[in-house]
């Protein structure tokens, strides 16, 4: 790794910081251009571009069918792309078969070899590389220690829990010191608590090993918490790319907003523009002011989006700008907060998240939509 690249890396994200003992990544740059894959008439992946710095953790995020797994399988070599380049430190690997790419992969269903013990599973990749037996033993032990399963080394996969199996799968991949780590929804077969633990585990391993990682998920929380950068995809196309904070706070489209937690999406019409603000009108005739996101002209159809936690809940007698009265239709207690469904003149069902637990069904309330939190996007079809 050149000094320049090292400087780039440490400058890139000072907030996360580079752990002092973190080993240098094994590659400097992965450069993907125009990667395309069709299945019959379906364009599963269209002109996919991605640049990954060595040591970076990238998430491909999107609903099922968005092309994220297709992209990952093309990078792995398990699928042949119809076109495009995958350049690893300047070498195009598109025509290299997967067994010679030296990438690690973790599968959603773990894909542990059921007939081999944990130790033999982890040793498999090293045996394929014809590494001396003594070294294999040592490296397998180290990998098992890393995922804290050294006492299970002689068991078979079926004797382990789902979380343990996935840790073995990770150990099996990292022990070969892959140039690139690919993870295909590794947590989606685990249940809630375990999932959180494994998420922390993956983050810890990434910090400790500095493996350049591409991680596929449909879970926005996973993507935000693990990644250095998030790639949001839809219908085989990249919709937005940025740090977790960027994509969360500054969604570039109604789609991005809806996928990253803006559960209130309202069809509106633009009635006026003033700098970065847009005057909008709902079908019911109610007018509000929001922040303009994207190209819009007066008279255009648009979508107004706001997160449940950004809607302010006030007593019903309070008025003010961008404030409407409504009635509580449902109350859901969530532990760290309460979620209300409120009907108002703007929509039948505005979801509001609050830390107060004093509201009840039928209460009259006032809702304020802060104009810097109410985003106005060009209209587009948005699926849940």
């Amino acid at each position: 790794m050149t000094a320049q690249a090292k400087a780039d890396q440490s400058l890139a994200e000072p907030s996360r910081g580079v752990a002092p003992g973190r080993p240098a990544p094994r590659i400097e740059r992965l450069r993907i251009r125009n990667l395309t894959k069709r299945f019959g008439d379906l364009a599963a992946l269209r002109e996919f571009d991605l640049d990954v710095r060595g040591g970076e953790f990238i998430s491909l995020l999107g609903p099922s069918g968005c092309g994220k797994t297709t992209a990952l399988n093309c990078i792995a070599g398990l699928l042949d792309p119809d076109g495009g380049e995958i350049e690893l430190d300047g070498t195009n690997v598109v025509n290299t078969p997967p067994e010679r790419r030296r990438f690690g992969m973790v599968f959603q269903n773990y894909a542990l070899f059921p007939h081999l013990s944990v130790r033999r599973n982890v040793a498999f990749g090293l045996e394929m590389q014809r590494i001396p037996k003594s070294e294999i033993g040592e490296r397998v032990d180290r990998a098992l220690r890393l995922v804290r399963l050294e006492e299970h080394r002689d068991k078979h996969p079926a004797q382990l829990s789902g979380g343990q199996q996935q840790r073995i799968a990770i150990a099996r991949a990292v022990v070969t010191e892959p140039r690139l780590m690919l993870m295909d929804e590794p947590l989606s077969n685990l249940d809630g608590k375990l999932r959180m633990e494994m998420r922390t585990e993956i983050r810890r391993l990434h910090q400790a090993l500095g493996l350049t990682t591409i991680y596929v998920t449909h879970d926005q929380e996973e993507a935000l918490s693990l990644s250095d950068r998030v790639v949001l995809m839809e219908h085989g196309v990249v919709r937005q790319m940025g740090t977790p904070r960027e994509v969360y706070h500054e969604p570039a489209s109604a789609y991005a907003a809806s996928f990253l937690g803006s559960r209130n999406l309202l069809p509106v019409r633009v009635t006026g523009l003033e700098g970065s603000l847009a005057r909008i009108e709902a079908p019911s005739g109610i007018s509000l002011t929001g922040s303009l996101r994207g190209e819009l002209a007066v008279g255009d159809d648009a979508i107004a989006a706001i997160r449940p936690e950004n809607v302010m809940l006030l007593a019903s007698d309070q008025g003010g700008p961008n404030t409407l009265t409504g009635q509580v239709q449902a109350v859901e207690f969530l532990g760290q907060g309460t979620e209300l469904s409120v009907s108002c003149e703007l929509a039948e069902n505005i979801i509001v998240r609050t830390t107060e637990d004093t509201w009840a069904y039928g209460d009259q309330v006032a809702l304020r939509f802060p104009e810097d939190r109410l985003f106005v996007f060009p209209a587009e079809p948005v699926e849940g």
């Binding site: 398990l78 067994e99 030296r102 599968f107 269903n109 894909a111 542990l112 990749g125 394929m128 996969p157």
Partner: protein, 306 residues
């Protein structure tokens, strides 16, 4: 407290009784349900076996309880039928496995045309051994297509003899049993999670290594099942050994010896003894194969959930 619990339990029991699911009645019902199957097994399998065993222990020619068995093993010509049969059954079984294992592996994920190809492979099963033997007699005969073609291509001058000898019988058994072996193995290999192969590939395993290290070990239970079934069926070879072989010589199989005892010498007792010997050998081989299988891996063929 304890009283309260007791009353809850008895209420539940009452509810069950009212619903008609008291334990004893359920047991009785399930016994009644399996009765037809039990009777069928008894009538079709256990009764003939016991009858044959008894018959074999009551020699027509006298000489004590085990005279038939003693005669069989002391007569070199009779004893040789075991070896004759093994020399047909084992090669046919192993040839089938050797062809079916790679073929099933190749066909594990072919979507288009898989049904057609499977159908073609399965046709021999519908033909029956007699029809196969008839076909082979004309195809491999001195004036058949096979030798005509070879002569035409000047590969041979004299016709190659693939009938009226051991080779002919082995070929016909191979054709007849292939579908069973192939279908069993296809079932097993299709049940192997395709991600296992992908995982091995990502870890650097070549095509051969993936087959050798992952697929083959996971196919072992299927291979054992196919081997056992194919062996049992080929060991009972009769029509093709008579039609395509030399029933007086190298293909005088054990079933033929039993048939001769029964319908040439009309010694049903001796014939029963030979049949029992035949069954014992089959059971022995089954025990060895299935015993070996249980010592190897026999767990799931998927690598985790889903």
């Amino acid at each position: 407290m304890a009283r309260g619990m007791q009353s809850t339990v008895s209420t539940a029991r009452n509810a069950r009784r009212i619903a008609g699911f008291s334990p004893s009645r359920a047991n009785w019902m399930s016994l009644a349900m399996i009765a037809p199957a039990v009777i069928l097994v008894l009538a079709l399998f256990i009764y003939p076996l016991v009858y044959g065993l008894r018959l074999s222990l009551d020699p027509q020619t006298g000489g004590g309880l085990f005279a038939n068995y003693a005669n069989f093993f002391t007569d070199a010509r009779e004893r040789a039928t075991i070896w004759n049969t093994l020399r047909l059954a084992l090669p046919a079984t192993f040839i089938n496995l050797a062809i079916a294992i790679p073929l099933a592996y190749r066909m594990r994920r072919v979507v288009r045309g898989r049904r057609l190809i499977t159908g073609l492979f399965v046709i021999p099963m519908t033909l029956g051994t007699v029809l196969i033997a008839q076909g082979m007699l004309s195809f491999f005969g001195p004036a058949g297509w096979f030798n005509k073609t070879l002569e035409f291509l000047r590969i041979t001058d004299d016709p190659i003899r693939l009938i009226y000898n051991k080779t002919g019988v082995i070929i016909s058994l191979t054709i007849a049993e292939f579908p069973v072996v192939f279908l069993i193995l296809l079932g097993f290999v299709s049940g192997i999670d395709p991600n296992l192969e992908r995982a091995a590939q990502m870890l650097g395993a070549s095509g051969w290594q993936r087959f050798r290290r992952i697929i083959l070990p996971l196919m072992i239970p299927g291979i054992a099942t196919a081997l056992a079934l194919s062996f049992v069926m080929t060991f009972a070879v009769f029509p093709s050994a008579v039609m395509l072989g030399q029933p007086a010589g190298e293909t005088r199989v054990i079933a033929f010896a039993a048939w001769q005892a029964a319908y040439e010498r009309f010694d049903f007792s001796a014939a029963s003894a030979i049949a029992i010997i035949m069954a014992s050998i089959e059971v022995l081989v089954l025990a060895v194969v299935l015993g070996a299988r249980s010592r190897l891996y026999r767990g799931p063929a998927t690598g985790g959930k889903g």
